[in-house]
């Protein structure tokens, strides 16, 4: 026979065959995608309980695949904030107002702590826990107050577990929290870039990009960071509803968190909760770039020191004496 004829004859067959194979692959992929979607959804809900409503599932799906906060456009930030607000309503029945307010131009936040004035009343700690929706189950606290004898200079030798009437004679009190270092070691340690320094000097965490490796804890020489070993428990009625994406919104298990100078407050001109709560005025907060600010007065006229300044971390948190 003519070989050419044969070829022509065979061609459609072959095509048919290929077509079949293609369709098979496509269908397989479709099926696989379905399984993956179901599996993903099951993973998101932790494989336990109900999958939630269709709306909740779709919101969580979108949340799972959102971008890093710094790569989001303003519209995307608004969208994720809306999603998180809606999710809080669906899952916990709380009406929160979340913001993604940007840093203010010409502002660099600084903090000063008066070791002479602090009397160890711990009002700041209580206010911080309340304001930042800290986990009540594991008693998480951003601030630690050390009771120290006169002459001691480092909180490492102080007592942070005191519980008696304060102040005690011949002792002074020193508060320790995140210092928002200008040259922050935790930022360098993070493998996923989930923590960074904002232009106004606040070191923040994108909780959704934190993988919980805790390298930053190891890198921080000040014990400024906290880890969620369990899902944070905050009673509904005690929750602070005014939240910020980078601040006091609810975290999850396995995520890092830290003091943010109350970003939800400070970016709208308010003082952080600890400063506002302090009954002795030992805490001073303000804009380092404003020559008329209180913090600049302290830095100019008072004897100030920074803890572990020799490490070169360049903290924006000064201690001073009267």
């Amino acid at each position: 026979m003519d070989p050419r004829k044969n070829k022509i004859c065979q061609k459609p067959d072959k095509q048919n065959c290929q077509h079949n194979r293609q369709r098979d692959r496509r269908e397989f992929l479709k099926g696989a995608a379905r399984v993956a979607a179901f599996g993903g959804a099951a993973m998101l809900t932790g494989c336990s309980g109900t999958l939630g409503s269709k709306e909740e599932l779709s919101l969580r799906w979108k949340e799972y695949f959102k971008k890093h906060y710094r790569l989001m456009t303003p519209e995307e930030k608004d969208e994720t904030v809306q999603r998180l607000e809606r999710l809080a309503k669906i899952r916990n029945g709380v009406n929160i107002q979340m913001s993604s307010a940007a840093p203010i131009d010409g502002v660099l936040f600084g903090y000063a702590f008066n070791v002479t004035r602090c009397e160890g009343y711990m009002e700041c700690v209580a206010a911080c826990v309340k304001e930042n929706n800290l986990d009540r189950k594991s008693d998480m606290q951003y601030i630690r107050i050390f009771e120290m004898e006169h002459g001691q200079m480092s909180p490492e030798v102080g007592n942070a577990k005191f519980f008696h009437k304060v102040p005690v004679e011949d002792h002074f009190y020193m508060g320790v929290q995140c210092y928002h270092c200008q040259n922050a070691p935790c930022v360098k340690a993070c493998p996923t870039k989930a923590t960074w320094q904002e232009p106004d000097g606040i070191v923040v965490v994108d909780y959704d990009w934190c993988i919980g490796c805790r390298y930053c804890i190891a890198a921080c020489p000040y014990y400024g960071r906290r880890f969620n070993w369990n899902d944070p428990v905050v009673p509904k009625q005690d929750m602070t509803k005014k939240q910020h994406y980078l601040g006091n919104r609810m975290r999850g298990r396995g995520q890092m968190e830290k003091c943010t100078f109350c970003v939800q407050r400070s970016r709208s001109g308010r003082l952080p909760a600890c400063v506002e709560a302090c009954p002795t005025g030992a805490r001073v907060f303000g804009n380092l770039l404003d020559p008329d600010s209180e913090i600049r007065f302290v830095l100019k006229h008072k004897k100030v020191f920074r803890w572990k300044e020799d490490l070169g971390t360049d903290p924006k948190f000064w201690y001073f004496v009267d």
Partner: protein, 209 residues
């Protein structure tokens, strides 16, 4: 031969390089945030930068002094005093109600000044005009401006208060500067802070300790 020379040369340079490079890195970080704020001398206008600072719910009065030429405010005091105005009872005639002094002012425990030279009522209160305070030099001081009164002895604290190292601002770091008055934190009759229980406690970091 040439390569040997080159190697020797490198060996000579290497320690010098090792010395130079780290010090350079350290110097570049040395200026840091201190340098940054020291260079920031331009005035910062809160109003144009910070939007929507919440207005305060407290009644304020302008302070008679300026800090770097800027006006600031303090909390009013008169509307918080229980029995103001004082001239309702003390109106240049002896108060006739029996045991009235104990009823009206019995709670006051005066613990101000040193033990050998304690203050009395009329160290601060003006005897013939009870609505006012009076300084050692006889200047009449309004109840809202008690810092003028306290500042005559506690001048260091007052200087710090004007600048912002003593006392505290109310609610906002931006916007109109409103600071607490001396009497917001200190009881003028016994100004020292009391010994009391802390608001909360810190749990131990580890169970072993």
């Amino acid at each position: 031969m040439n390569t040997q020379k080159f190697k020797n040369c490198l060996r000579g340079i290497l320690p010098a390089l090792l010395l130079i490079l780290p010090t350079e890195a350290a110097y570049s970080a040395e200026g840091g945030v201190v340098e940054t704020y020291k260079n920031a001398t331009a005035p910062f206008d809160d109003a144009t930068h910070v939007e929507a600072v919440l207005p305060l719910a407290v009644k304020t009065v302008p302070v008679s002094e300026r800090y770097r030429g800027k006006l600031f405010y303090t909390e009013a005091r008169k509307d918080k005093l229980e029995r103001f105005s004082c001239s309702k009872c003390h109106n240049n005639q002896p108060v006739q109600i029996p045991r009235s002094a104990e009823m009206a002012h019995g709670k006051i425990a005066l613990a101000h000044g040193s033990e050998d030279r304690p203050l009395s009522c009329f160290t601060c209160h003006k005897k013939d005009e009870r609505d006012y305070l009076v300084t050692e030099q006889g200047m009449k001081v309004d109840m809202d401006h008690s810092y003028q009164m306290c500042g005559q002895c506690h001048f260091r604290q007052k200087k710090d208060w004007v600048g912002g190292a003593h006392g505290k601002r109310i609610a906002n770091w931006a916007g109109q500067r409103v600071v607490q008055n001396c009497t917001a934190c200190h009881n003028p009759h016994s100004p020292r802070f009391e010994k009391r229980w802390p608001a909360t406690y810190s749990p131990p970091l580890s169970k072993s300790k």
